[in-house]
Amino acid sequence: MHISLNSSNIIFGWLLNFMPATAVGIIEMVLIALAYLTLFAVLGLYLVLMERKVAAWFQLRIGPNRVGFQGLLQTMADALKLVSKELTGTVKADKFLYNLAPYFVIISSLMALAVFPFTKNLQAFDINIGIFFLIAISSVGVIGILLGGWSSNNKFALIGAMRSGVQTISYELSIGLSLLTMILITGSLQLSEIIEVQKNGWLILQGHIPAIIAFMIYMIAGTAETNRAPFDMAEAESELGAGFHTEYSGMKFAYFFLAEFINMFIIAAIATTVFFGGWLSPFGITESIPWLGIFWFLAKTFVLVFLMMWFRWTFPRLRIDQLLTLEWKYLLPINLVNIVIMAVIVWLNLTIQY
């Protein structure tokens, strides 16, 4: 694990004076893990609040506005309620898998969060296969959903889990291929490297037409990957009650719930990093103030998150066969053609740079 922020270097350099390097390493890891856990919880809770507010605006309502100023503490109160709730489960559930499932979901999204560069050098670990790692780790989450649906001994949950499995496996192809299209320009899987390349223009501008197509496919597939409307087949509350997490209560339910929102953030953050220049400011207007990178990264990400919420509160839900038709008959062939077009563009050096 590598962190190279100046302030942290000073702290750890000071610690090295009276501690062995291993101990300092462990302290460093624990502190970073704690920081990420805090980020995870705060982000999850406030994304829930944001969703509720956005939904309310779409639906002629006010939304939560009683707990704290303008409802800012509402989700905190909800989380406290969920923590204090009794955990119930079905009698004949496979207890081990049933209890294990939420951790798969939440750990996969927590690990994915760790590789994002929030600004220059503010990154927990910058591996050279960053994009590959993200795609790989985000597919671990579906194991949790499958296990949860399978082990809770409920047919509605099982149908939801199977739907989710089919859906995630299908749409991962599109996510992978649309990101691969962009990798053709960057020539690197490392996230920091991808952002460096975009100093001459965000990739969505550099790659122009195929990049825009790739972005659209990525957003559709990303929405499907997070099991959100209009692709929320796994929950489909009007069909399956609550889908795969029907039998979960209290904090275990909250894990699934939080993971869904964090996954939405992750999908948006990948899009920000790969298509919209990550923490880079538009046309380098605030390049001299590196800390503003956090602002730009979050601003771009939340615009995309808002876009996904907009989808959710506007569109009806697809049917499972239509969902698969969309992926296998439309998105995947378009993607394959798109990747060839992008290869030609990169080969002929037709990318736009300023």
Binding site: L60, K155, I159, A229, W313, R317, R319, I320
Partner: protein
């Protein structure tokens, strides 16, 4: 525990699932016994009785004025029309001459009830196919109608405004003004419904070609209301057996011929426009006069059998009274639209996916207390 699985010859891939009595898509305590192969529906068996209140039996105990109040609790979304069915049956049996004013007011409130019911249905329809936002848009407009009802009838849902012989009291002085302002408001809002849901590609894909009911089947299953008219079966009681002021008002019967869920959807949207046109034609010409004709405190129907049919928001409601000349009916039977519409669910949902079943059920617009009296 006693099991109600009738079908014991399951194939190895098929399994059984209980949809309801507590399920978000059944809109009440309807229980569907589904036999499913993966996602594909093999069999749907509705199981009723979870909200049975013996309304027909209670009617045999009650006087005719009291029966009117019970009908509110059947199809609670068209309570005024249900009331009217009983009142009309009693009035016809007594051969009462009803003032024109009563007829016009009844028709206006009927059509307002129909709009209120259809806006609620539209909201829930969107919710069933996964678009939660429609619910709030539907309720926004329904609230305005409920406010009008509250002012005039004193209640928002179970109105009890009709009595045998006329109305319980005269309309509120604000009634005409508020109905007009509602119509003006709703004319701008109904196109919003189309742009939010009707034109949506996903919605059309979910409903077009789903749950197809042919005209022949619609007739043989006794489908009525928008369900029958979506299949091209002209079954509007208002058109064929006009009651109250409906014989004086020209209006179009909403008809679609495709017979799929989308056709039933379009029929209801079109019906809202037609209802608005009926109200517009009547609201300026409410005749002066009495709001009821006095009846005896104890109404005794002559010996015989009487039948009255009306068009509720869900279809044809029939009231069949057998009287032996006493103050209570000997037997009273309601022919509820929801019951016959539910009976065709198995016929049109088999072969579809679980999502199709939900979309189909939404376009049947079931109100469970109406099916299970």
């Amino acid at each position: 525990m006693e099991t109600t699985i009738v079908n014991n010859d399951f194939k190895s891939e098929e399994y059984f699932i209980n949809m309801g009595p507590q399920h978000p898509a059944t809109h009440g305590v309807l229980r569907l016994l589904l036999t499913i192969d993966g996602e594909i529906i093999k069999k749907v068996e509705p199981d009723l009785g979870y909200i049975h209140r013996s309304i027909e039996k209670m009617c045999e105990r009650d006087s005719y004025q009291q029966i009117v109040h019970l009908t509110d609790r059947m199809d609670y979304l068209s309570s005024h029309i249900n009331n009217e069915a009983v009142c009309l049956a009693v009035e016809n049996a007594l051969q009462l001459e009803i003032p024109e004013r009563v007829k016009v007011i009844r028709t206006i409130i009927d059509e307002l009830t129909r709009i209120a019911s259809h806006t609620l249905w539209w909201g829930v329809m969107g919710m069933d196919v996964g678009a939660l936002t429609t619910y709030f848009y539907g309720f926004r407009d329904r609230e305005l109608i409920n406010d009008i009802f509250e002012e005039t009838c004193g209640a928002r849902l179970t109105m009890n405004y009709n009595i045998p012989g006329g109305l319980m009291y005269d309309i509120h002085p604000n009634f005409v003004k508020r109905v007009k302002s509602f119509i003006a408001h709703f004319k701008t809002k109904l196109p919003e419904y189309d742009s939010l849901l009707t034109g949506n590609v996903i919605f059309q894909k979910r409903t077009k070609g789903v749950g197809i009911l042919t005209k022949a089947d619609a007739i043989s299953f006794g489908a009525s209301g928008p369900v029958g008219r979506g299949s091209g079966y002209s079954c509007d009681v208002r058109k064929h057996h006009p009651y109250s002021a409906l014989d004086k008002v020209p209006f179009n019967e909403a008809l679609q011929t495709e017979g799929d869920s989308f056709a039933r959807y379009l029929v209801r949207i079109q019906e809202m426009w037609e209802s608005m046109s009926i109200i517009e034609q009547l609201i300026d010409n409410i005749p002066e006069g009495d709001y009821n004709v006095p009846t005896n405190a104890v109404i005794k129907l002559p010996k015989g059998e009487f039948y009255q049919r009306v068009e509720t928001a869900r279809g044809e409601l029939g009231v069949y009274i057998i009287s032996t000349g006493t103050k209570n009916p000997y037997r009273l039977k309601f022919r509820s639209p929801g019951f016959s519409n539910l009976s065709l669910l198995n016929h049109i949902a088999v072969g579809g996916k679980i999502g199709d079943l939900v979309a189909t059920m939404a376009t049947l617009d079931l109100v469970i207390p109406d099916i299970d009296r």
